[in-house]
């Protein structure tokens, strides 16, 4: 596609439910990043995928968070047993390879009620 695509754009879920967020990176981009941005705050690193290497999960805030990526294609971020503090915009970005210019998707706004 022309850019990084994320779905859904908005998600409202009840506390305790699981959610799955999807990211379609730009074709050919080997690096993919997930970030969390709370209202008025900065970009909090969550996880980084580089090709077929083991992902860097050092930013995941708890074991309720997990992410997968199949090869160099789609990635999904899963949040289990959602809590109100999980409410944020989740941004995905991809780049040709690690360290290059990153292109961001429009994000998924998650609201946990």
């Amino acid at each position: 596609g022309a850019g990084v695509s994320q779905s859904p754009s908005n998600k409202v879920t009840e506390k305790g439910k699981d959610v799955e967020l999807r990211c379609d990176p730009i074709s050919g981009h080997t690096a993919l990043y997930w970030y969390r941005q709370r209202l008025g705050q900065g970009l909090e690193f969550l996880i980084y995928f580089q090709g077929n290497s083991a992902p860097d999960k050092s930013g995941l805030p708890s074991d309720r968070f997990s992410a997968e990526r199949t090869g160099e294609s789609v990635s999904t971020l899963t949040i289990q047993r959602t809590q109100q503090e999980d409410s944020a915009v989740y941004l995905c970005a991809s780049s040709l390879r690690g360290g290059n210019e990153a292109f961001f998707g429009q994000g998924t706004r998650l609201t946990v009620v």
């Binding site: 705050q41 900065g42 860097d56 970005a93 390879r97 690690g98 292109f103 961001f104």
Partner: protein, 115 residues
């Protein structure tokens, strides 16, 4: 280990200049600068790769001192369109092994340009 940005916020009148600083506690491979307008995704401005490198983009330029692990973003003759939050991002050294290209951002500097 995220980079530290300063100032946190700045208000400018059109035509004024500003400098945003970014410093890191770890060895850097590159420094990235992005701008995010309210309600939008961050947009890439520039990457600096070499020690002492400077780059320019319109009236926005930046420098990177690899030895000091510092970068500065210079906005000259600011325009209303420059308003937004500026983030510096750091990618680690190519010698630091797995995850070395993890792109970590500072907390951002909110820039407001008023008429």
């Amino acid at each position: 280990q995220q980079p530290v940005q300063s100032p946190q916020a700045v208000i400018l009148r059109e035509g004024e200049d500003a400098v945003i600083n970014c410093s890191s506690s770890k060895a850097l491979y590159s420094v990235h600068w992005y701008r995010q307008k309210h309600g939008e995704a961050p947009v890439f401005l520039m990457i600096l790769l070499k020690g002492g490198e400077q780059k320019g983009h319109e009236k926005i330029s930046a420098s990177f001192n690899e030895k000091k692990q510092q970068s500065s973003l210079y906005l000259t003759a600011s325009q209303l369109s420059y308003s937004g939050t500026y983030f510096c991002g750091q990618a680690g050294s190519i010698y630091s092994g797995a995850g070395s290209y993890q792109l970590t951002f500072g907390k951002g500097t909110k820039l407001s340009v008023i008429p």
